[in-house]
C-alpha cells in the first residue's frame, strides 16, 4: 500500500489505540489516532485516500453517531467498526449504513489489515472517479448551451437529421456543433461520449 494513504483510529482506550497503530505501521500504513469522536470531527481531513477504524462504544458520540454525522456532512470515508462484544443488531445497522467491516475485539490481525486494505482501495477508487467526474463536468460546462443540447440528444440515440428537425436548424449546423462538442469533451467516439455523460449524470447510482 502506498504511503499516500492514512488510517484514522478512534478508540477511547490508549493501549488499544497504540497497539492498532503499531500493527498497521508494520505494513507501512500511516496512522493518526483520536481518543474521541469530537476531536476527529473537528479535524479537517486531508485529501488523501483514507479510512476510519472506529470503536462502537465511545464516550460522547458513539461510533454509530460518527457514521451518521459524516454521512450527513457528505463525507464519504469508509468505516471499519470495532466492538468489545458481539452486538449483532448494532453491527447490522452499521453495515447497512455502509460500513466496510465489523470486527469483534480481539480480532485477527489479518482481518483488520484486509479490511483496511479494502477500505483504502475503495476510497482511492472513489477519489479517482471523483476527480474524473469533476474533469468531465468542467469540460461539459465549457460547452455552449446549444452544444450541450445537441450532445444530450445524441446520447439519447437521436440521429443528426432528427436533431436538426427538432431544433429547427440545418443538419450541417448540427454536424458542426457535434464535432465541436466532441472535441471539447475529448471524446474519441460517440460511445465514449455516451459513457462520459453517464458518469457526469449518475455518479451516485454506482457508488458503494
Amino acid at each position: 500500500m502506498t504511503t499516500a494513504s492514512i488510517v484514522f483510529v478512534v478508540d477511547d482506550d490508549p493501549s488499544v489505540r497504540s497497539s492498532i497503530k503499531f500493527l498497521l505501521s508494520t505494513v507501512g500504513l500511516q496512522v493518526e489516532s483520536f481518543e474521541s469522536a469530537d476531536t476527529l470531527l473537528h479535524k479537517k481531513l486531508p485529501d488523501v485516500p483514507s479510512c476510519l477504524v472506529l470503536d462502537v462504544r465511545l464516550r460522547g458520540l458513539s461510533g454509530i453517531d460518527i457514521q451518521r454525522t459524516l454521512a450527513a456532512r457528505n463525507i464519504q470515508i469508509p468505516i471499519i467498526f470495532l466492538t468489545g462484544h458481539g452486538d449483532i443488531p448494532m453491527s447490522v445497522r452499521a453495515m447497512k449504513a455502509g460500513a466496510i467491516e465489523f470486527l469483534t475485539k480481539p480480532f485477527r490481525d489479518q482481518d483488520l489489515l484486509d479490511a483496511v486494505r479494502v477500505a483504502l482501495e475503495q476510497d482511492r477508487a472513489r477519489r479517482e472517479k471523483e476527480v474524473e467526474v469533476t474533469d468531465l463536468q468542467r469540460r461539459f460546462d465549457s460547452l455552449t448551451a446549444r452544444e450541450q443540447q445537441v450532445i444530450a440528444m445524441l446520447v439519447s440515440g437521436m440521429l443528426n437529421k432528427q436533431i436538426a428537425s427538432e431544433l429547427g436548424t440545418a443538419e450541417s449546423t448540427v454536424k458542426v456543433q457535434r464535432s465541436r462538442a466532441m472535441e471539447k469533451m475529448q471524446a474519441q467516439s460517440l460511445v465514449d461520449l455516451a459513457k462520459m455523460i453517464e458518469k457526469i449524470k449518475g455518479p451516485s447510482e454506482k457508488a458503494s
Binding site: S19, L23, T26, V27, G84, K105, D109
Partner: protein, 554 residues
C-alpha cells in the same frame, strides 16, 4: 473461787486443791466435748477415749483401751500413720500438720468418713503421751461437695451456652463443649457424635481430654452398633461404674491398662429425634451429681446443635440468594465487562501480531520489541485485575467478615461500574471522608450492596436527558456509625416507594426484584440499616449504615 481459800491450809494443800480443780475442769471439758478425744502412748495403744468417741466411731470408749489407734483408720492410712509416728518418735520430725489436718476415719461398722484432727503431746515419767481431738466433718464435707457439684453443673451449662453463643463452626463449638465436660467433670476424655442426615451414621465431631483426634475407628459409628450406636438407637443413657465388667464396653484390656473406672453416654435428643451422642470415660466413679450434670449438659448441647443447624441453613439460603443476585447484577453488567476485558486482550493480540510480522520480515528492532513487550505485560496485568475483581465479586464463599475500610470497597465497586457510568454518560462525584474508622464486614457482600445501589441509580437516570449525576458519599453519622449514601438525579422513588424493598418487586424489565431486598438483609446481617429517601430537587438517595469495628481508631 480463790476466795474459798482457807487460812489453815498449807501451801501444799493449796497446790493440791488447785491441781484437783484443774483436773476436774479438764475432765468436764473432755467428757462433754462434741469431738472425740483420744490419748495414745508411745506404742500407739489407746490409753483413753471420751464418750463422744462412741458417737463418732461406734466403739464404746472402754473397748478401745489398749487397742492400736490404727483401728480407727481405713487400711490405706495405717501404714502411713505407723511410719510417720515411729519416725517422729525417733527423729522429732512431724509428717503431718498437728492442727486441723483433714484425714479419713473408719467407723466400727466399716464406714469411712472425713475427719479433722488436732493433737498435742506431753511427757509423763519420761514417756510421751499424745492426745488428739477428732472431729467428724461428714456434714460439712457433704455440704461442700453439694456446693461444688452445683457449681460444676452451672459451669458446664455456662460453658456450653457460651460456646453456642460464638460465631464458630459447629465442630469448634462442640469441641469447646467436650472440653468443658473434661474440665469440670474430671473425665479422662469426652466425645460428641452427631447423627448423619440419613440417620445411619454417627459422626465424631469433637473429642477432648486424653484423646483429641477425630479420625480412626470411632470417627464413624453405624446407628445401633457398639455402645455409642446403641445409646443413639435406644435413646437411653448408658451408665456404668464398672467398665471392666460391663458387657457393652468392648475394649476391656484398654480400659484396664488406662485405669478407667466409669463410662457415661447420653443420647442427644430434640423432641423425639436423636441427633447425636455425648459420652465420657472417667478414672473415677460416677456420682449422681456427675450424671445429673451430664444429662442437663446433653439437653443443652442437643438444643444448641439444633439451633445452630437452623441458623446455618438460613445463612446458606441467604448466601445462595445473595450469590444469585450477584450473578444477576453481573449479567446486567456483562456487556460493559466484556468490553472492559476485551480492551487489554485486543491490545495484547495487536502488539504480539505486530511483532510477529516485523520478525517475519526480519525487521524487529530490540527497542521496538521491548516497548511492545512492556505494553503486553501491562495489558495482561490489567486483564487479570479485571478478572480477579469479577471473580471476587461472584464467589460463592459464605460470609467472611474482616476489618474493612469502606472507602476501599467504594473504590473497588466504582471500578466495576466505571464503564457503565461512562457509557451512560453519568457524571460521578465522590464525597468520601478520609481516614474513616474501619467496619467489620464481608467485603464481597458490601461490594454487592453498593454495586446494586449504583446500578439502580444509573438505571433511574436512563430516562433523564439533562445532566445525569451520581454522588457517592461516605462519612460518620450522628450516632458514630459509618454512613454510605448513593444519590442520583433520576426519576425518583415514585409511587412504589414503600415497596422497593419487597422481594420480587421491580420496576425494571429485566430485573429480578431481589437487589434491594437482598441488599437490605445483607446490611442488617452486619448490624446496619438500609433505607431510601427522595433527593432534592430530583432523584433518590439510598443510604446504609454499618457499625464501627471494635478497636478501630475513632
Amino acid at each position: 473461787m480463790t476466795s474459798e481459800r482457807h487460812p489453815a491450809q498449807t501451801d501444799r494443800e493449796r497446790e493440791e486443791s488447785a491441781l484437783r480443780y484443774s483436773e476436774q475442769n479438764y475432765r468436764l471439758v473432755v467428757e462433754t466435748a462434741p469431738d472425740a478425744v483420744i490419748s495414745i502412748d508411745e506404742s500407739g495403744a489407746i490409753l483413753f477415749a471420751n464418750p463422744a468417741t462412741a458417737r463418732i466411731f461406734g466403739y464404746d470408749p472402754t473397748e478401745l483401751i489398749g487397742k492400736p489407734l490404727t483401728i480407727l483408720m481405713p487400711e490405706f492410712l495405717r501404714k502411713l500413720h505407723e511410719n510417720g509416728f515411729s519416725r517422729y518418735l525417733a527423729t522429732g520430725q512431724r509428717h503431718i500438720n498437728w492442727q486441723g489436718t483433714e484425714l479419713t476415719g473408719l467407723r466400727k461398722h466399716g464406714q469411712e468418713f472425713p475427719v479433722e484432727i488436732s493433737f498435742g503431746e506431753l511427757s509423763r515419767d519420761g514417756h510421751k503421751v499424745f492426745t488428739g481431738f477428732i472431729r467428724d466433718i461428714s456434714e460439712r464435707k457433704q455440704a461442700e461437695e453439694m456446693r461444688a457439684a452445683h457449681a460444676r453443673q452451672i459451669a458446664v451449662r455456662a460453658d456450653v451456652s457460651i460456646a453456642f453463643g460464638k460465631e464458630e463452626s459447629l465442630k469448634t463449638i462442640l469441641g469447646e463443649c467436650s472440653e468443658a465436660i473434661v474440665r469440670h467433670l474430671d473425665a479422662a476424655f469426652a466425645r460428641i457424635w452427631t447423627l448423619s442426615d440419613d440417620g445411619k451414621m454417627l459422626e465424631l465431631q469433637a473429642s477432648a481430654g486424653m484423646y483429641t483426634h477425630l479420625g480412626g475407628p470411632h470417627s464413624e459409628i453405624p446407628m445401633g452398633q457398639f455402645k455409642i450406636g446403641m445409646i443413639a438407637q435406644e435413646r437411653k443413657p448408658h451408665l456404668t461404674n464398672d467398665v471392666l465388667n460391663d458387657p457393652r464396653i468392648s475394649n476391656r484390656a484398654w480400659a484396664e491398662k488406662e485405669g478407667m473406672a466409669s463410662f457415661a453416654g447420653y443420647p442427644l435428643s430434640v423432641g423425639d429425634r436423636t441427633i447425636g451422642v455425648l459420652a465420657m470415660f472417667s478414672r473415677k466413679q460416677l456420682t449422681p451429681d456427675t450424671t445429673e450434670t451430664l444429662a442437663s449438659g446433653a439437653d443443652l448441647i442437643a438444643q444448641g446443635i439444633e439451633r445452630k443447624r437452623a441458623q446455618e441453613a438460613l445463612q446458606m439460603t441467604q448466601a445462595e440468594l445473595a450469590r444469585v443476585s450477584r450473578l444477576t447484577t453481573m449479567g446486567e453488567l456483562a456487556a460493559s465487562i466484556a468490553h472492559e476485558v476485551n480492551q487489554p486482550l485486543t491490545a495484547v493480540t495487536n502488539n504480539s501480531n505486530a511483532c510477529l510480522r516485523l520478525l517475519a520480515a526480519d525487521n524487529l528492532k530490540p527497542e521496538v520489541l521491548r516497548r511492545a513487550l512492556e505494553e503486553i505485560v501491562a495489558d495482561g496485568n490489567r486483564a487479570s485485575a479485571i478478572v480477579t475483581r469479577i471473580r471476587g465479586f461472584i464467589k460463592k464463599d459464605p460470609a467472611e467478615k474482616n476489618r474493612v475500610d469502606i472507602n476501599d470497597v467504594i473504590q473497588e465497586v466504582l471500578a466495576l461500574a466505571d464503564r457503565e457510568l461512562y457509557e451512560n454518560r453519568v457524571r460521578l462525584e465522590r464525597q468520601l471522608t478520609k481516614a474513616l474508622p474501619l467496619v467489620f464486614a464481608d467485603r464481597v457482600q458490601m461490594q454487592q450492596v453498593l454495586l446494586n445501589l449504583i446500578m439502580n441509580g444509573i438505571e433511574a437516570m436512563i430516562a433523564v436527558t439533562d445532566e445525569r449525576s451520581l454522588w457517592v458519599e461516605s462519612r460518620v453519622d450522628e450516632s458514630g456509625d459509618i454512613l454510605v449514601a448513593v444519590r442520583d438525579s433520576g426519576t425518583g422513588l415514585g409511587s412504589g416507594a414503600d415497596r422497593i424493598f419487597t422481594p420480587f418487586f421491580t420496576t425494571k424489565a429485566s430485573g429480578m426484584g431481589m437487589g434491594l431486598s437482598i441488599s437490605r438483609s445483607l446490611v442488617e446481617n452486619h448490624g446496619g440499616r438500609l433505607w431510601a429517601a427522595p433527593n432534592f430537587p430530583i432523584g433518590a438517595v439510598f443510604s446504609f449504615t454499618l457499625p464501627v469495628s471494635a478497636g478501630s481508631p475513632a
